[in-house]
Symmetry: C2
Subunit: 555 residues, 2 copies
């Protein structure tokens, strides 16, 4: 992911830079206990209309920070020092993989072009506006010595939508269209921010010309396509291995272990080749839920579904807990404490730029996207546009990690130059402020806002026309639980006669692409890689005889 | 666990001491790919009568070590540097917790006294013999300057049975008695080795007298009881929280996350209080499988059972893979390469001492244990004694970690004194040799040996008398799958009339203790902490209506 400089990596994979064994044990104990607290608190606040799990974790993190600050007499608010590696190597992969594994695939691919438009062009627009605004306003404010690269980095940092936050705020079952748009945008957004960050740190920024812009575009397409391909290949390989060896005959544990390891391998390979690991692992998750998941035993299916969700859930809470605790780190605030007004000003300006930058691409691009859709039902209404704009405003752990990367890449907070030091401190503190403010305030307001703007969410979701298929498909959605990774595959059984009249072909072109894909899938892909209804039926244990019951019991 | 010195902990929780980001990524990629290879290879070798998963992983690790050694032109055979913390903080907890979670509880508690006898007294006997032998033989060989503390440390290192290996070699379903004896011994063994290690590093060894022996015994009982209590408390707390809050109504993920986190918390708390974390997490696993597991939803039950097993499985392979790669570390071998004969001699002597030390306690203590059992069926036959002796001979990752701890605690391999350096190098290389030899040779021979000594294993296992209970219990074992953590609880349904005639009370006293416990459990524990049949029946989803079917489908 972020591979700008290597000097920041001096701690290697050292997750925590505490040097004392006992203090590490103490920290881990407190962290695990806090995670348990967050889970229990989250359970009680579930029905609350304002709160969500992220805000609870942030609040608990902040409180713990205050307590530690008081007990250590102001020396430190942190138990563990934030390491980018901890975030990018251990916490992010399960979150994004699980998102791909559980995403409603049909909804996602139907809006694929819109998602890429938002994620690529939109992020560039947002980046340009925030960078341009920062250059013009901050130069007048004199907040320390920042170079052109720093301003562009600010643009990249604050145009990185936090997909983790989005997952918490939007509900896939209630608002499938919005979820797939905002979350999909967040995933593509990552590829864009990798290109932006690499570009800022490697290109000669004093000579921006058309050849660099061309190189930049080529780089983006290369990254996007190769990352996706790697993820798809890893997923298909796992499906093929499990289908050929038929592990289930021997061991559920082997199947589960292989799925987890292959997914993680795809992420790490992408990191190795400087691709967008987030895109890779996301597509690996999609392919695994389409093929691999159907090749394993029933107990492996239940286990993977819940184990991946649990891993992702714990990683998310961990991140928010950490951001909450990290926010109170005293060192950074001491540098900027002499100019509190300026600090608040910088943060407010950045928040304003984030709001403007997002508005500047959501509304025009939505209109553009609507032009290509003939059916009224598929268009994005104005209220939905406002929700998309709002739901993508949150900035989270990704922004924090990028900010630390930019500062550390240039000689850390303890830079020799006083002006440099002040500039860096402002960058960190304002990032923390924006992250906290956007997560807490925007996050708190999202649920009420959505209730206001989209009062009939369930109804809206229901209006997406059902796929042309046999009447049998009408009974399937009732049999399938809402959280089944495969609800999209309504008529997944092979050899079911399919009505594809020519009139329907013309009126709904996007369905045609889908139905061609389905034909290709049934004819070539599934026989090789397995998938629903394509595994040989070998009764091994009594559990297999209950296969049909499973569709009922799976929740 | 091992808390002797803090100077060795300078890397903190830094799992790998590689300093370059890219090399970390490369290492992780290779490691994950190798893990996948081990799983696939293990699948193919399942039916093989010699191999097991540990030996496969060791072999793959050794081959990789050779390849790396050749490609780096002899500079390094290792991708990642072994850190004790990686082992004790991340890899060991899931293995031991899963062992407790899946252990057949009735078998374990029936042999509880024998297990403690083997684990505590047996380890002390073994320790004394190995230390005494090492002092007398090595002093004559002049293999470098070793102090009395080093010889005692050698005794502690080589009397640590590797419970991970045991899990791989013995099968719980085929030989339940042997499994519970050898594995249980391994768990208690750990508590003993912690006391031994702490004693060696903290007591003044030049003045061994009766007060130290008394202190030592007191320390052991304190450790044993407090570690067990902590594990039981953590397990009960998790059962209580999940029962009271009834998380399942909302989220399977929360339940699974809470179980994992509470188990890990118990391990880390034991580490914090210098207790035996292995004992704690083992008992936490037992309590969780008895209470907590029955309070969660069906999908959580399937998920936890397989997720814990998978975690443990991957951690085990990881350890053996690493030990295989680490064995070829060139630095250590270069120091001892001038005296290959001496090196082989030291290793052979140590292997001989391990064999003698184990024989010296297994046979006498088995006879002692047989004296207390009146029923012929419950006694340990001579062939079984030989198997117990043989199956506990393997030394693994625990011995490696202890050896590194002893060496690093005294100023690392790069000690200033040449004699010291040689002594340390001999200690490490001979540990590696013993670990490799015992795992590969003893491990390979275990399966054939058991087939030879115990030809009618299944028959033997069947002779353990079934619990006095209603005829209903006869149908239960058929309904229950072999891997259900609760097979022991044959008549778990409350309010079932139980035949407890006075005659039976006298003839089988150990069952009486068990039946008193059952009464207490049903009257006081289960109403508070839940357990089989003690959760309120609230139909939430269709899955609950299939509860009885589940006993059938669970495999």
């Amino acid at each position: 992911m972020v591979t700008g400089s290597s000097s920041m990596m001096t701690t290697g994979l050292g997750m925590f830079s505490s040097s004392d064994h006992t203090s590490v044990i103490v920290s881990l104990n407190l962290f695990v206990a806090l995670l348990c607290m967050c889970i229990v608190a989250g359970h009680y606040l579930e029905k609350n209309r304002w709160m969500n799990e992220s805000i609870t974790a942030l609040a608990i993190g902040l409180c713990t920070g205050v307590i530690i600050l008081l007990t250590t007499e102001g020396r430190s608010s942190r138990l563990l020092v934030f390491s980018e590696d901890l975030f990018f190597i251990y916490l992010l992969p399960p979150i994004i993989f699980n998102a791909g594994f559980q995403v409603k695939k049909k909804q996602f691919f139907r809006n694929f072009m819109t998602i890429v438009l938002f994620g690529a062009v939109g992020t560039l627009i947002s980046f340009a506006i925030i960078s341009f605004g920062a250059i013009h306003i901050f130069k007048k404010m004199r907040i320390g010595s920042l170079e052109i690269g720093d301003y562009l980095a600010i643009g990249a940092i604050f145009s990185a939508t936090d997909s983790v936050c989005t997952l918490q705020v939007l509900n896939q079952d209630e608002t499938p269209l919005l979820y797939s748009l905002v979350f999909g945008e967040g995933v593509v957004n990552d590829a864009t921010s990798v290109v932006l960050f690499n570009a800022i740190q490697s290109f000669d920024l004093s000579h921006i010309n058309s050849s660099i812009a061309f190189q930049f575009t080529g780089n983006f397409f290369y990254l996007f396509i190769s990352s996706t391909m790697l993820g798809v290949l890893a997923g298909l390989l796992s499906a093929y291995i499990i289908k050929k060896l038929y592990f289930g005959r021997h061991s559920t544990d082997r199947e589960v272990a292989l799925m987890i390891l292959m997914a993680y391998l795809s992420y790490m390979l992408a990191e190795l080749f400087y691709l967008s690991a987030i895109l890779t692992v996301f597509f690996c998750g999609i392919v695994m839920s389409h093929y691999t998941w159907h090749n394993v035993t029933e107990s492996s299916r239940v286990t993977t579904k819940h184990a991946f969700a649990t891993l992702s859930f714990v990683a998310e809470i961990f991140i928010f807990l950490y951001v909450g605790m990290d926010a109170l780190d005293i060192e950074k605030w001491q540098i900027v404490k002499n100019s509190p007004g300026k600090s608040i000003g910088v943060s407010s300006i950045l928040l304003g730029l984030v709001l403007t930058g997002r508005a500047a691409f959501v509304f025009p691009l939505s209109v553009l996207s609507n032009l290509t859709k003939k059916s009224k039902n598929q268009q994005i209404t104005f209220n939905q546009q406002v929700t998309i704009w709002w739901a993508g405003l949150m900035r989270g752990a990704v922004s924090m990690a990028l900010a630390y990367n930019q500062v550390q890449g240039k000689g850390s907070l303890f830079s020799r130059s006083e002006a440099k030091l002040r500039g860096n401190a402002f960058m960190i503190t304002s990032t923390i402020t924006v992250v906290l403010f956007s997560t807490v305030v925007f996050g708190l307001l999202t649920k009420p806002l959505m209730r206001l703007l989209l009062p009939s969410q369930k109804h809206l979701a229901g209006t997406t026309p059902s796929e042309p298929s046999t009447p049998k498909s009408l009974t399937w959605p009732l049999l399938e639980g809402g959280r089944d990774p495969e609800t999209d595959q309504i008529d997944g059984k092979p050899n079911v006669p399919r009505r594809t009249s020519f009139g329907m072909l013309l009126s709904t072109p996007s369905y045609t692409v889908h139905s061609y894909w389905r034909k290709f899938d049934d004819a070539f892909m599934r026989p090789v890689f397995g998938g629903r209804g394509f595994m040989p039926y070998i009764p091994i244990s009594p559990s297999d005889q209950n296969d049909d019951q499973w569709s009922l019991t799976r929740q």
